[in-house]
Amino acid sequence: MTLNIRNTSSSDKNEGDLDKLSDEELVELCKEQLPHELSAYRVLVRRHEGLVYNLCMKFLGSPEDAEEVAQDSLLQVFHKLHQFEGRSAFKTWLYKIVHNYCRNRISKIIRKREVQEAYEDHAKEELPKSNFEDDRAADKKAHIHEALNQLKPKEREIIVYKYVSGMTLQEISDVTDIGVSAAKMRYYRALESFKEAYERTANEPLPVITGSQTPS
């Protein structure tokens, strides 16, 4: 099947074609189209919006702040995509923008307590009551949020990048502008800190790993 990526019509059929393109192909198309045509940009936003919002939520704790910062980050892509040279993956570049916007937002929040309170308020809100399994998952989620809240910001960042966004240490190093060795050391410290914070918060140990899952 030949995809005519130069067709700049914004019909639904064309968006379906654009959905099949990789991030890199969409970025090239956006560079040709922006700012006059937004169809490829829309597909890029749609593809990454959920992840960006989730990341902002984990850093900021407040849905309102997260929505605003997520929007600002995606708008920055609109303005600056022509500067993206493709030396890293688009996702890494996007996460770097999100990282900087979140850091700026956190520093604007005057009292540290406001961030903690946002985390705590949000953790309490996120408790769907449908069945036992959902309750257990919701409890775990709330405890994770509380444990993350107790970490230093840089340790929280690295745990979120690793376990929510699924980034590698190399990608984390690129996004946070620190060397891979420094990222690794920070990560190991963050693991210990998170484990202690979670066990303290949830009053239970981390999940047990059995049999073939344990390191040999």
């Binding site: 829309r42 959920g50 989730n54 376990y163 981390l206 999940p207 390191p215």
Partner: protein, 82 residues
């Protein structure tokens, strides 16, 4: 257990914890939030085009009007069809 094994175990445990809490699931895009981003992008596109007109197109329009008012266009002695 040596330190490397201890770190790997911690990683497995934390990964399992996030998985059980549903925090590793791929988030679904939110249509409302996507549309808000697109609205802002279209607004900024419009403002960019307006700025281009104001700084580039508008002076050209004014220049044309002034030329017409000054009689430089359609002068009775011009022989366009000559």
């Amino acid at each position: 257990m040596n330190p490397t094994e201890s770190i790997e175990l911690n990683e497995l445990q934390i990964s399992r914890l996030f998985e059980e809490a549903g925090l590793q699931d791929l988030p679904v895009p939110n249509d409302r939030r996507v549309e808000m981003v697109m609205e802002r992008a279209m607004h900024e596109k419009f403002m960019g085009e307006l700025s281009s007109f104001m700084f580039q197109g508008f002076p050209a329009v004014v220049d044309g009007l002034l030329s017409a008012a000054g009689g430089k266009i359609n002068h009775p002695n011009d022989h366009y069809k000559a």
